[in-house]
Amino acid sequence: MKTGDVRILVVDDFSTMRKIIKAMLKRIGIKFIDDAEDGKVALDLLKSQPYNLVILDWNMPNMSGLDLLRSIRTDEKLKHVPVLMVTSEAKESQIIIAVQSGASNYIVKPFTEATLIKKLCAILKIEETG
């Protein structure tokens, strides 16, 4: 898969973080990036078009990232979509919960662009040089 073919959905209630992540993704040539400010909007988007990856914040009001992850994993059409959980907690217990709930991987804030890209490429099995 090439970076230009990848479709990514970024879900975070903070618009600053959505902008920062989108800018990082654009710099490596990802062209199709949608974003959502909450889990319900994200779920509607996921059901309406295909994505290769969801980058999902853990802490969100209304529908938490964990609840959205569980909704994705129990939906027949969505259950295979990879999810990269974003958290500001580096606690082992939370990481275990994320993995047990079906997260493909996790990343802890603050993170560098290099770390995000490395994790993304590993999940999507694309070369980092794109």
Binding site: F14, T16, I20, A23, N59, K91, K109
Partner: protein, 159 residues
């Protein structure tokens, strides 16, 4: 100043420097922590977050306007639509991240805390409502474009 205050300030100082350098590419130089008098915010826009767990407490960030705009521009470049909203969100998110990293550092000292979602406050002479009758430790930080402050207050700090 009591040794415990300085010992506990270090996790917050290290977390602040790590978060600012990683997310905003800003080298934040810490000054000497001091005991704060009163609740008035030292900056123009602040965020406070509550802690529970081994000790109840609070942590807050407070930015001067100039410093907040500088950090925002470093993080977002030209992609700023609503500067007031973006500053509020950025201060809240930075507080979230510094809280997370501080708590990792504190857990290595045997103090395990959980945090709530930050509350953002702005306006002239606003106050930061830490726990009543508790010591508040403030550390000033300088950046190329102004100052910001990190405050914390925890139970069991010697009075």
């Amino acid at each position: 100043m009591h040794d415990d205050y300085l010992t506990l300030a270090k996790p917050f100082i290290q977390a602040t420097q790590h978060v600012l350098s990683t997310m905003a590419f800003v080298e934040a130089i810490p000054g000497t922590p001091f005991i704060k008098k009163g609740l008035t915010a030292p900056g123009d826009v602040s965020a406070i977050i509550g802690f529970t767990g081994d000790r109840n407490g609070t942590m807050a960030l407070s930015f001067t306007k100039k410093c907040a705009i500088f950090i925002l521009k470093n993080m977002l470049g030209d992609d700023i639509q609503d500067i007031v909203q973006d500053i509020k969100e950025t201060v809240g998110e930075l507080t979230n991240m510094i809280s997370g990293q501080s708590r990792v550092n504190l857990s290595q000292m045997g103090i395990n805390l959980q945090a709530a979602i930050p509350t953002i406050i702005l306006g002239d002479n606003h106050t930061i409502e830490h726990m009543k009758n508790r010591i508040i430790i403030t550390t000033p930080f300088s950046t190329p474009q102004g100052e910001f402050f990190v405050e914390f207050s925890l139970e069991q700090l010697p009075q």
